[in-house]
Symmetry: D2
Subunit: 293 residues, 4 copies
């Protein structure tokens, strides 16, 4: 297919690269052009403007947050100049707020363009290997049309109906559960180290018994090693996701006390200047730090 | 070996049965004698008194809480009448408080008996299959002596040094992490259902992607199904374990805010009369209940 | 002076009435005209449009929240059509967000109009008696000009510098402390009633010893009496103020865990359908309700 | 009357001195005898043993905590050797646990001695001036007998029935409300200082408007001044009181989330080595510290 791709960070680049390997035509655009050049070397067409990228059979976008997407797509007039004749489906894979997803769905509908929210579970290496889990929602016929593209980058697409923002809600629940698991590891480690038991020993026990899988094992090791850097996922972005979950919950009159608590811990971390450090370690070692360890 | 066994609830009976099948001599005692009779039918010797059971190469105990063990072993004088000549090692598998484990270790040392804390991870069916994970601490030589017995019921023994109560600390960290995972599922489900997404759908997604393993899958399904009964693990016992974790943490000057929050939620649940219902569902549906769902 | 007044709820009407009694010329405007007619009967001029009211030596505004003020002043173009030639000072007494106060100050400055935030402490009867405490911030010269007007409605003006939004921050700290006092009364009452001690007895003791003054006494009596209605201050507005405090705190990277907890309790209350009931009783009886009392 | 007095800290000495001035015979005992000598210089009889002090028409006790009272009265056998013939009423003014108060009431009843819990509100200077507020519960006839003594040290006695421990519950609710007020001042100050508003300015505003009285004014000034020392009330004792409130609440199946949060903050403070510093400042500045101020 003829595909546009906007936003070439680590994840965006990996997904775009995967689409290229599947022999699709991919026009790429990125705010800083260096990453677009890298994709061009893999066969992509480097678009001069976002308008050039925002057309075709389908456009993927993977920008950092609401503000970045709003700047590129709305404030600059890109969406306002687009139409269903030139672009059929926009697949937004970024983790954005539920309210903004609703706004985007409405604005795309006005232009005759189908809007799909399709945030992903997995890291860039999973994207490069086509092993992502994709959470998708939006108009069913549009989803059918782009499913072959999603199958190129994901091992499975989990559909959540026709209202695009539902996929964003689901993604926020996953990110929240991730943060909660980290908080629980951190408090468990704080208790253990209070009795001269190594954090790594109990986190290893947990990940080999009750909690198999990459989250407990991976973050458990990072926490035990105090691996604040490099930051695979920055603390300030972790706070952002918790904030989005709380905003979505508040709009549905839903208290999430553990999310509130994690938010407060992360605000304290940012006040300590830890915003650019690894989220999992900043959050995961907070309880130990409070206990003087 | 010549083994005594005190406390024949579901878990104790399964472990004792496993030891019988491995051709050990097992003298069993239980406060209500019916369960002892069942084991006798499998080849155990039913002891008339706890003193009769509390001797031999090793004694296992699996009683419900501090109070039950204190009543049977201390208040009745059983430990006071025992000695290292008649009993070498006491292996206590129950989840008891850290402070009581320290007291027991000291009192056993006075009588010349080695005291080992060996709480387990796993349910009775895992015990019957010899697949438990055993967390053990206590005098190294005594542990070596009884390791063959532990290997009969467990797939692996995780050792945490010579101070018996350390094993109890570790067990409490595991139970806390279990409760935290349930709380996180509950809040995630509350957020999701606020947008008409089924709790079961996001919990299934979680357990098939980020959080494989029996905890998220099993409790996820129970929560989605509102399976308050039968109570595999009662809410009031879940509160007890959180309370023990908080007490151990306080003795080590360690705040555990998530544990505090879970404790408060469980107190509310008990005030609602849910103490005898399934812990995972009582805790896991609390966030949904608060949101009016 | 020649004064405009926008927003004639209970508090706005009381303040405008006070200004009339002090022989000022007051042009009043309200979205629903009935309240403007009442003031006209007291000597006010009922303005046909908000533009008519938004001019003179000074304009007071007292609208319910950010949205109401944004609708009347910005979306309708009233501020855009105004200028420093026709209006010198706008004194906004409403409890609005810190971010919106900053935006308003900037937009007024563009039009050459001084913007003062002057939220008040006290109820309508205090306003009618000229006994309010006024928290004010904004350009010093403008504040000097309107101080005689503030002295008509307030017993004291507490100044917090030239940045108008600072007064809003201060107001939010006061409202937060009020909510915190109510939460503390509620939890104290929950503990007491757990021992068959009447809530009213300990709240009366508190207000006659450690905590004199109208807050503990007034809310203590309302809580003890379960006086959910009439709602002097509605629960949903109490939640709004806590939300504004949390938003202001987040913008300053400041965790406020007690505010987070109150917010969660109020979300639960709204989910229970208590949004229109008295804030102090909804919040103040939440802890008792959780304990089954 | 012929009075015994056990426990001569700052508060005990002030109360005993007040009784002496009212011309009562007072036999005093203290673990470290220096304070007893000071009272002897005011006319008291210095008892050689606690037994000597623990008899007469009435005995007052004012020891630091459960452990101190248990050591002096129970472990040493003083109560076991006493009887209703030699001592009519024991008035315990210390802040002890509800459970221990129940135990003491039962043990005194066995010896034929009336036991009254009579914790006080106020500082030593209020005691010296006879201006304490006394919270009392216990057998009505015994209370009638000793009311003239209570009137010597208190301006008012607030009675809470015949079950002595009820007075302890009430005292714990007051101490909790005190801690909650401090927490609220601290979070308010954290918000204000995030906008370069001085903590002292908003706390002064609060204490002169919504929250008159000594608590908000006194602690507000201590917090603003960072007056960690001298410690009028030590942080570790503040934690103890919150812990007693939580224990009493748990026994009545009552969640107190704000108390849980304060407990966690104080545990963190103790882990930071702040246990001997002023409670009000340690707790009151915690929120500012978390925000990096």
């Amino acid at each position: 297919m003829n595909i546009g791709f906007i936003g070439l960070g680590n994840m965006g680049s990996a997904i775009a690269g995967r689409l290229l390997k599947a022999n699709h035509t991919v026009r790429v655009w990125n705010r800083s052009p260096a990453n677009a050049q890298k994709l061009a070397a893999q066969g992509a067409q480097a678009a001069e403007t976002p308008d050039e990228a925002f057309k075709g059979d389908a456009v993927f976008s993977m920008l950092g947050d609401d503000d970045a997407l709003r700047a590129v797509l709305l404030d600059s007039g890109v969406l306002g100049r687009a139409s269903g004749g030139a672009l059929r489906v926009h697949i937004n894979m970024a983790t954005i707020s539920v309210a903004f997803a609703d706004e985007l769905a409405a604005r795309h509908a006005e232009r005759g363009i189908a809007y799909i929210s399709a945030p992903v579970l997995g890291r860039p290496d999973a994207a490069a290997a086509g092993k992502l889990n994709i959470v998708a929602a939006g108009p069913a016929s549009a989803l059918e049309t782009v499913q072959p593209l999603l199958d190129v980058v994901g091992q499975k697409t989990w559909r959540f109906g026709e209202i695009a923002s539902r996929a964003n809600v689901v993604k926020l629940t996953m990110n929240f559960m991730l943060a909660a698991a980290i908080e629980s590891m951190g408090e468990a480690a704080a208790l253990a180290t209070g009795y001269e038991i190594k954090a790594g020993d109990i986190l290893e026990l947990a990940s080999q018994t009750l909690f198999p899988g990459p989250v407990y094992q991976g973050y458990g090791r990072l926490i035990a090693a105090s691996a604040y850097e490099p930051a695979g996922f920055k603390a300030r972005l972790g706070l952002k996701d918790v904030r989005l979950a709380l905003a979505a919950a508040e709009a549905a009159t839903t208290p999430m006390p553990l999310a509130s608590q994690i938010r407060d811990t992360m605000l304290e971390a940012l006040a300590r200047g830890e915003g650019e450090k690894e989220f999992g370690v900043v959050l995961g070692r907070a309880a130990m730090r409070r206990a003087g360890r």
